[in-house]
């Protein structure tokens, strides 16, 4: 079927979204900084944001690798 590698790529993206979401919930959600008074919520959000950005960067890196692997022949063509 035309575009089969793209269907595979979409499926992989979907799995990565669910797994990435799971990692975010498991590792980021429980983080709570409580020793800096008024700065607590700001610092908690900041740490969560940094972790989220790292996860998104890893997600994009994995996608780039998978894209190159799946579409290698097509792009070369």
């Amino acid at each position: 079927m035309k575009g089969t590698p793209i269907f595979s790529f979409i499926f992989v993206m979907w799995v990565l979204i669910i797994v990435g979401g799971g990692l975010l919930i498991l590792f980021t959600a429980p983080i709570s900084i409580t020793e800096y008074g008024a700065l607590d919520s700001f610092l908690t959000s900041g740490v969560k944001a940094v972790i989220a950005i790292i996860l998104v960067t890893i997600w994009i890196y994995i996608l780039s690798k998978i894209k190159n692997w799946i579409f290698h022949k097509q792009i070369k063509h």
């Binding site: 979401g21 919930i25 959600a29 969560k48 894209k67």
Partner: protein, 330 residues
């Protein structure tokens, strides 16, 4: 139940028939004012009226205002304001070709009413694992969401009927998902997007009688984004949009900067003698979804559109599965 069925049917019919009836008049008006662009993929290069955004906006705005009389919620106000502002950004870009950064920044501004109105919940919900509360980060997500959905739909608007057809599929997937997670009011508020897209597709499908232009594409994309936010279905919305996301991802990863499509010097596709589309051998040309689809060999514009719609249906199915998974916790 009846108090929800009546507005659902009413706003769907209003959005569909307004766009369906107004668009032919818009086509004539645009032709009369010579507001047409060349369709390079058509034999002979037909001149096609643009933009179709105004008819879409009228259909959506009237339907949402009527819905507001049934459900006077702040979420519907946010949908109305953000969608209208995105249309204004689009119409400016239709009239004057602005730089690559104009649209993302202006669309980020369109997201501000969602924040000011407080029409969001800072819990980001994932399937199977539950929600994470990210108050400060969620505001950043809102600011990014509208430019991303707006530009993503805009970037897929490269072939006859693709933007409106794809939007029809994605928005109905979002509506079904909203019903699955029992967010009925936002599900009904999303119906005008699907029905307006469907009515516009009648004139936009191959061979196009009108192009949506930036005003149409940004209206589609921004409304989709704001529904995702106010309906708390951000992840589901992203899944339904995956083929268009792939297109943007491939484009950005090959071009490596924010740039307007019009500024691309190397065309990713060319025409065969029988006017099918084929990939170019130009190494500087950006990698796009269409270019990948064509890697298997030349295809007609209609055939490419059909592949994109199949990809859209596949993503729509994954989005609905994701909605069902929202109810499962592990």
């Amino acid at each position: 139940m009846l108090d929800q069925i009546i507005p659902a049917v009413l706003v769907s019919a209003i959005a569909f028939f307004l766009v369906y009836l107004i668009t032919p008049f818009l086509i004539k008006a645009l032709e009369k004012r010579n507001l047409t662009v060349k369709d390079y993929n058509r034999v002979g290069g037909a001149m096609v009226p643009r933009p179709g955004g105004p008819s879409l906006l009228i259909g959506i705005v009237v339907a949402e205002i009527i819905l507001y009389t049934f459900f006077p919620t702040i979420e519907i106000v946010a949908i109305l304001v953000t969608t209208s502002l995105a249309f204004v950004v689009g119409i400016i870009d239709d009239r004057k070709t602005l730089g690559g950064w104009f649209k993302p920044i202006a669309l980020a501004g369109c997201a501000i009413p969602i924040i000011l109105l407080g029409a969001y919940d800072s819990n980001l919900t994932f399937p199977l694992f539950g929600a994470v509360k990210i108050p400060a980060l969620y505001v950043v997500i809102i600011i990014f969401m509208i430019p991303i959905t707006g530009n993503t739909i805009n970037s897929i608007d490269v072939l006859n009927g693709v933007a409106s057809g794809f939007m029809t599929i994605a928005s109905f997937a979002l509506t079904i998902s909203l019903f699955v997670i029992q967010n009925y009011e936002i599900a009904i508020a999303s119906l005008p997007l699907g029905f307006a897209s469907l009515a516009f597709y009648k004139y936009h499908k191959f061979p196009s009688r009108i192009f949506p232009g930036d005003s149409g594409a940004l209206t589609f994309g921004a409304m989709y984004g704001v529904i995702a936010i106010v309906g708390h279905v951000e992840i589901i919305a992203a899944v339904a949009l995956l083929p268009a996301v792939i297109n943007s991802f491939l484009f950005l990863s090959s071009v490596k900067r924010i740039i307007e499509h019009r500024q691309i010097k190397s065309n990713p596709v060319a025409h065969t003698d029988d006017f099918k589309l084929m990939v170019t051998t130009d190494r500087n040309a950006p990698v796009t979804l269409v270019r990948l689809i064509l890697a298997g060999g030349p295809m007609t514009e209609k055939q490419i559109g059909s592949v994109i719609f199949r990809l859209g249906l596949f993503s729509a199915a994954l989005a609905i599965i994701t909605a069902f998974m929202m109810g499962i916790k592990i």
